[in-house]
């Protein structure tokens, strides 16, 4: 199994979720994060001075999946999250050794 984490622009979240649900992914977990990268932050005015706020609000979604779903998931995310501007984000794939559903104690794929 894999744990796929995608850091995306917050306003794409709904689109990403529908794209994933179209390929059968229902469960996911969402984090609000601050991103630092190439995308530049915005300026803010404060009584006659402009300051740069260097982080960008981002959303991270985390999805535990079976190995064979990996490519579909990555494609779905790319297609739904892309705006073709810097800062569209990253996808990170890490190995997932086990998953357990708390309610039933099922493990492995059936816990997802």
């Amino acid at each position: 199994m894999k744990l796929v984490a995608a850091i995306i622009k917050p306003f794409r979240l709904d689109d990403v979720r529908s794209a994933l649900s179209e390929i059968g992914i229902q469960g996911l977990t969402v984090y609000e994060v601050k991103g630092f990268g190439r995308q530049k932050g915005h300026t803010e005015l404060y009584r006659g001075a402009e300051y740069v706020v260097d982080y960008i609000p981002k959303v991270k979604i985390e999805i535990a999946i079976d190995d064979d779903q990996l490519d579909a998931v990555i494609d779905a995310i790319i297609e739904s999250a892309r705006t073709d501007k810097i800062g569209d984000g990253k996808i990170f794939v890490t190995p997932l050794e086990n998953a357990i559903r708390v309610r039933t104690s099922e493990t492995g794929s059936s816990a997802l």
Binding site: L45, G48, V53
Partner: protein, 429 residues
Amino acid sequence: MKKSGLFIGLSALLSFSNAIAADEFSGADTAWILTSTALVLFMTLPGLALFYGGLVRSKNVLSVLMQCFAITCVSTIIWVIVGYSIAFGDGGGANAVWGGLSRAFLSGMSRDALAGSIPETVFSMFQLTFAIITPALIVGGFAERMRFSAILMFSAFWLLLVYLPVCHWVWGGGWLGELGLLDFAGGTVVHITAGVAAIVTAMVLGNRRGFPRSAMMPHNMTMTITGAGMLWVGWFGFNAGSALSAGGDAGMAMLVTHISAAMGAFTWMMIEWKRYGKPSALGAVTGMVAGLGTITPASGFVGPVAALFIGLAAGSVCYFATVFIKQRLQIDDSLDVFPVHGVGGVMGTLAAGIFVASELGGAGLADGVSMGQQLGVQALGVVAVIAWTVVVTYLILKLVAIFVELRVNEEDETVGLDLTAHEESGYNL
């Protein structure tokens, strides 16, 4: 000076404190000053507290709210004990400089004692709300780094040695009032003293850690704007209440106050729009406070068109003063008390000497006084109050520093004053 027109409020006050005359009781005036008292307290609690509280970082918000509350309490207690007496008592031979202690513990303030046309209790309560907001305004200068115990001591001494004497000089029968200084609702007494004290304190304490390198953005602009709205509304009590009566003077004072606020906000907004392409809400409300502070000393003397000019001057001059002090001089008068209140107070006090002229729509200069003479008195008042405030504020800080460190330690400043000074956090959302 057409006494009847011009000095309705102040003459009552002056004559009261000089024990010259007592007007007839007016229920209407009483009703309005009771209301004004509520409005001015509202300016501090929660108005100013929120205005300032929103501007600091989240970890210090309660410390600011708490300081405003605590100063309210301390000022009140001092007022009862000796404050009212020092400001409005009859100092006898020394009356030019202070009011003495004969009215300590508000002695002799019976239910039916009058001050002008209103009960003395009402007059005293109304004036107390000014003695509350003035030291509270200084909080903006030392925010986010001063030790709470030092703040209490400083505020107490400052009230005793700066506010109360200056108040007596101007409104309590002291030398500046006698000279004919025009200060309707507190350009010298309130705004100059507070603004100057704030920057002196900021310089003695030193800048906040990280200033000016890292941006210290307001943690809750909605709180600041809420406070700003309350200040605007409350200021009607501040300025129109200073007429000490419910009539044409109060009406005109409210009108010009409102106009200047709107014009100050609009001007600051436009300057930002021009310079940065975008007007900010913080800019608008800061311009509003500048407009309000600036019209304050002039509010009982000038007409509506003058108010447009005063607001314009407030919004622009205070803007550039803020930029100059914060960006250029890099003095961390954290919430810009001096450039807004100090500079505004100076401008307004001088403007009062000009726009009072009846040709300019004002209430009219005193008989036999030329504009030049009046401006001279105004300038003298400004200089004297600045000088006194600088020196005494500095000495008080040095005095307090003997008993307790003025500034919190580095770690506490980093963690924030809410947890380290008050064991609380602002939000657990």
